[in-house]
């Protein structure tokens, strides 16, 4: 017989909200007249994301397992859901920017038209904008929110696919440099499918070893029977799948290409939200399911964290494109986040969970802000991402340069910015667990990383403007419309505020740092 699972609709409210909005978005896409579709889609997506955000906040303090044990709506899950929903809303605002590109949107009007065809050129000048990106992004946000609360490897896999598939699609929708964008999408899809397969295989092996896909059952099984080869193999494969999504080196190779090729608002979305979702899942799998077998994975994560920090920081030094540089920076930050992941004891106690969640929030805000600034600096062919084009920017637009400087200092972890608070939190958690050699590597990697962030500041402030001499015009700094302005204002304020008075948000993370399951 088939028993209906117990569903706590209150606890599911955030997910219902966001998936509801996504479904409405699909309907709007099919039935609403094209002329007025854009504002409606934007409104639906924003209402979905903000509604999800508000409902997570209202649920704060709950800790329950629902949907027949498949979902764990606990403090950590809700905090991460709120983070994803909030960052997702900011990213959607970036999607909606229409004042910057003369073609009125960062997304190609019709994805199916081959790049470079006569029809494609026609579309560049037509006022038509595409709106499919909103429901797709909403689905991705929903998948991410499901991902961080899933208490069951199978649900986690479903969520992984729900969040990944729309991302593959919207990565290929750039209006400018379409071939690069499509290449990025294909690369992301192929490698992402591989990673999903790893995850699925790991899931199967773990099921074989423990007889369950439920995280709590896996924990019980590992406690009762110890760990065997099958389970460890399964765990390793699961971790590979998750580390891929979190773009941790050595599973990072897709990151620079995809970040570079995808439309910048999408890059911002991926860099911020996907990271939160992936780390939420990593924390849950490692501590809820495999916390008892901690000694098996700790050395592995330790090593991967070092590799990621070193690879990210060192390779970023050689980049000449800002998007690629930020991509490598995100790999280095994934390493810093892993130091926070290691800052938990075997039972998931310790300040590491709160620290990692706080770091995810501040990193997400700063990185969305940084990519938003990237969308402002443009030349005739779209965004001017090459480092040399940013020379002397401060003389031309002091405000944009100042905001970018703030974000870069935060990414470098300079005190009085949110990045420092986050770094301090994760490093402290790691040292408390005795991982001080890792922290030493992390601070040295931070120093290397500071160099390339600093290089951008040097270019903006201390160099002569690009172009100028040989009569060529340098890039222009676009005047952003309302959506991007809102995003920049929120992210810059948050970056500064969480550096100077982080107390209340740290408290919130501390209180929320509970797993059930």
């Amino acid at each position: 017989m088939f028993d209906a699972p117990d569903l706590s609709f209150t606890a599911l409210a955030p997910l219902l909200f966001i998936f509801g909005a996504a479904c409405v978005g699909v309907l709007v896409e099919s039935f609403w007249p094209r002329d007025s579709r854009h504002p409606v889609q934007l409104a639906v997506a924003l209402v979905g994301a903000l509604g999800a955000l508000v409902s997570t906040l209202l649920l704060a303090g709950r800790g329950e397992v629902t949907a027949d044990g498949a979902l764990a709506v606990d403090g950590a899950g809700l905090f991460l859901q709120a983070t994803i929903a909030g960052l997702g809303a900011l990213a959607i605002l970036l999607f909606a920017e229409r004042a910057l590109d003369p073609a009125r949107s960062a997304f190609v009007a019709s994805v199916a038209v081959p790049a470079g065809s006569p029809r494609d050129r026609e579309l560049l000048t037509s006022p038509q904008v595409q709106t499919e990106v909103y429901p797709l992004a909403t689905f991705a946000i929903g998948g991410m929110m499901l991902f961080v609360t899933s208490n069951d490897l199978l649900v986690m896999f479903v969520a992984l696919e729900v969040l990944s598939l729309p991302l593959y699609l919207i990565s290929g929708m750039a209006r400018r440099r379409r071939l690069l964008s499509q290449e990025a999408a294909v690369k992301y899809f192929l490698l992402g499918a591989f990673a999903s397969a790893f995850f699925l295989y790991g899931l199967a092996l773990v099921y074989g070893a423990t007889g369950s896909v439920r995280l709590s059952d896996i924990r019980a099984a590992s406690l009762a029977e110890g760990t065997d080869v099958l389970m460890l193999l399964g765990l390793a494969l699961l971790i590979v799948g998750l580390l891929f999504k979190a773009s941790v080196a050595p599973f990072h190779t897709w990151t620079p290409d995809v970040y570079e090729g995808a439309p910048t608002p999408v890059t911002a979305f991926m860099a911020a939200c996907t990271k939160v979702a992936a780390f939420g899942a990593i924390l849950r799998v490692l501590y809820v399911a495999f916390g008892a077998a901690e000694w098996t994975w700790r050395p592995l994560i330790y090593g991967v964290a070092i590799v990621s920090m070193v690879v990210g920081s060192v390779l970023a030094l050689t980049q000449t494109d800002l998007k690629r540089m930020l991509a490598y920076s995100s790999i280095a930050h994934a390493g810093f986040l892993l130091t926070g992941v290691l800052g938990l004891g075997a039972d998931g106690e310790g300040s590491g969970l709160a620290a990692t969640m706080f770091y995810l929030l501040v990193y997400g805000l700063t990185t969305i802000g940084a990519f938003a600034v990237l969308t402002l600096v443009r030349d005739g062919d779209g965004e001017a991402g090459h480092l040399s084009q940013w020379a002397g920017l401060a003389a031309r637009s002091p405000l944009v340069a100042a905001v970018m400087t703030l974000f870069l200092l935060a990414l470098a972890g300079i005190p009085l910015t949110s990045g420092f608070t986050g770094k301090f939190a994760v490093f402290r958690a790691a040292v408390e667990e005795g991982a001080w050699p890792l922290v030493l590597v992390a601070v040295l990697a931070s120093a290397v990383a500071a160099f390339f962030y600093l290089r951008v500041i040097v270019l903006m402030y201390f160099s002569a403007p690009a172009g100028g001499a040989d009569g060529e015009r340098g890039p222009t700094v676009g005047v952003p419309g309302l959506p991007t302005t809102v995003v920049l204002a929120i992210t810059a304020t948050a970056t500064l505020a969480l550096g100077i008075v982080p107390g209340s948000v740290l408290d919130l993370a501390e209180q929320a740092a509970r797993f059930v399951g």
Partner: protein, 523 residues
């Protein structure tokens, strides 16, 4: 008056001043200058008030106040001042108005605004005050790192031709040290959490910890490397000649006069009391670095042709003396070292200023581009001489007292190192006097030499005019009234503290004795 939060005001006033100046519309340079000067004079006044109210026989830390800042990390916004920090506050109070006065008519690189320069200077002042008055290690660290940002922009935006390189080098060196210190700060916190139950960053609580010697050594190194880069000790010094020579004069003065003192201040405030065993263990190594630094930097100073680089190298040599005084572990030597920190700020600050005034006239930093200046600009040469003599610690100038104290205090403990260090004094006389002699005396030569305006040539006498060589003489104006006003206070301090250093010593000594008793002092 005793209720006024003077220390907090000394941070807030310049920070607010910086915001006000930065918000001024473009082209309001005059207003910016006046506001900045006013703000910096207010800070000087506050520093003096703090000093007047300071009870030399009282508690070690006075005017303490503490507000919870980040409860989760156990961080408080805790301020307090001891004698050592107090004299540094006075130094900041004196140097910043002087620097602002000296930068009044600076010619900046094109497209740079004067308002931004003064805003950064004031922000730097707020950060510098914060570093010295923080009694919470986390807060200290925050100021220590945040201080880099204004200095970075001062060097990078307003400096000399190689300013980009110098600014980045400065920032990275300091940041590497700072980040290593961050690891040690976190380590210290974790140790305190395991010993006291709850982690804390409060200096007074951390001082009481009994830290395992092995852990002490690691934590000591974390703090020491950061401070040794900042101070800087050889071999962590290579950034200073670049930054010191490329920064605008005001930046150089504050960099060498105050910022670098944070390093030696850190040795005394944090390394010795928090890690006494490790300090004793590593002291011989530090002394070797100090003495090598004294001699090596002095030799390098002699080899410089660039005046600003030369002065930077003399500073590295002097920092060796300060480190020697601190790590000799006697109250006398350490008192001398703290006094040296103040005196060096005054003497080298003045030397940088006067060199800057000369450079502003000639447009070149090379010694070889000047000669015989004293004949045309006696005031400039006089100030130059006083600054130079103070720098080489001639008796009667302030530096003599401190250098003598350091040497006499170190000798009983470390005779060999002290004797070696004494050689540095002779070298100091050489590099200073050579620079003075080449630029100020001798035949007139160099970039300032210009043809006299041709006498009205007799009509049609073109052929005869080419026969007589054109008469050339130095074109140099002596110090203006503003420049005199800038130099006068420092000259006065050099002489006053040269003959009567007692007030400063009275402030410094109790704090140094307290430090030495934390260390389990030898005397």
């Amino acid at each position: 008056m005793s209720d006024l939060p003077l220390l907090l005001l000394m941070i807030v006033v310049p920070a607010v001043g910086a915001a006000v100046v930065a918000a001024l519309p473009k082209g309001r340079d005059e207003v910016a200058k006046q506001v900045s000067l006013g703000v910096s004079l207010v800070v000087l006044l506050l520093a003096v008030l703090t000093t007047v109210a300071f009870d030399t026989g009282g508690e070690r830390f006075q005017r303490t106040s503490s507000w919870t800042w980040i409860a989760d990390f156990g961080v408080s916004f805790a301020l307090g001042v001891d004698g050592i920090a107090l004299v540094m506050l006075l130094l900041i109070g004196v140097l910043v108005p002087v620097v602002i006065g000296a930068s009044w008519n600076d010619e900046l690189p094109e497209r740079r605004s004067m308002t931004a320069y003064f805003a950064w200077l004031l922000l730097l002042e707020a950060m510098m005050v914060g570093v010295f008055v923080a009694t919470d290690v986390f807060l200290f660290y925050v100021f220590f790192e945040a201080m880099l940002v204004p200095m970075y922009f001062i060097i990078g935006s307003f400096g000399g031709p190689r300013r980009q390189y110098a600014a980045v080098k400065f920032f990275l060196y300091s940041l590497v040290g700072g980040l290593i210190m961050l690891a040690a700060v976190i380590g210290l916190y974790v140790v305190s959490a395991s010993e006291l139950g709850a982690g804390t960053f409060a200096f007074d609580a951390l001082r009481q910890l009994e830290i395992d010697p092995g852990v002490q050594k690691l934590l000591f190194l974390g703090f020491f490397i950061a401070f040794a880069i900042k101070a800087p000790l050889v071999p962590f010094h290579t950034w200073l000649p670049d930054s010191g020579s490329e920064a605008p004069i005001g930046g150089s003065v504050l960099l060498v006069g105050v910022l670098d003192k944070v390093g030696t201040f850190g040795f005394l405030r944090y390394c010795l009391p928090l890690f006494p065993d490790a300090s004793r263990y590593f002291a011989p190594f530090v002394l070797v670095l100090a003495v090598v630094g004294i001699l090596y930097a002095a030799l390098l100073a002699m080899g410089q042709s660039d005046m600003k680089r030369l002065v930077s190298y003399t500073s590295i040599s002097h920092f060796g003396f300060i480190a020697l005084g601190i790590f000799a572990f006697t109250t006398e030597a350490a008192t001398g070292a703290v006094l040296y920190m103040v005196n060096h700020g005054i003497a080298t600050g003045l030397l940088f200023l006067v060199v800057g005034m000369l450079i502003a006239r000639g447009g070149s930093r090379q010694i070889g581009d000047y000669g015989g200046v004293a004949a045309k600009a006696p005031l400039l040469a006089g100030v130059f001489l006083i600054a130079g003599l103070a720098s080489l610690a001639l008796p009667g100038t302030n530096s003599f007292v401190s250098e003598f104290l350091v040497l006499i205090g170190s000798f009983p403990e470390e005779p060999v190192f002290t004797i070696l260090a004494t050689v540095g004094i002779i070298l100091a006389a050489l590099y200073i006097l050579l620079m003075y002699q080449r630029t100020m005396h001798g035949p007139a030569r160099g970039v300032l030499l210009q043809e006299d305006p041709a006498e009205p040539a007799p009509a049609g006498g073109g052929a005869t005019a080419t026969l007589a060589p054109p008469r050339r003489s130095l074109r140099i104006t002596d110090l203006s009234r503003r420049e005199l006003a800038v130099a006068a206070p420092l000259v006065a301090l050099i002489i006053v503290f040269g003959v009567y250093p007692q007030p400063l010593l009275e402030l410094i000594e109790p704090a140094v004795s307290a430090t030495m008793s934390d260390l389990g002092g030898t005397d």
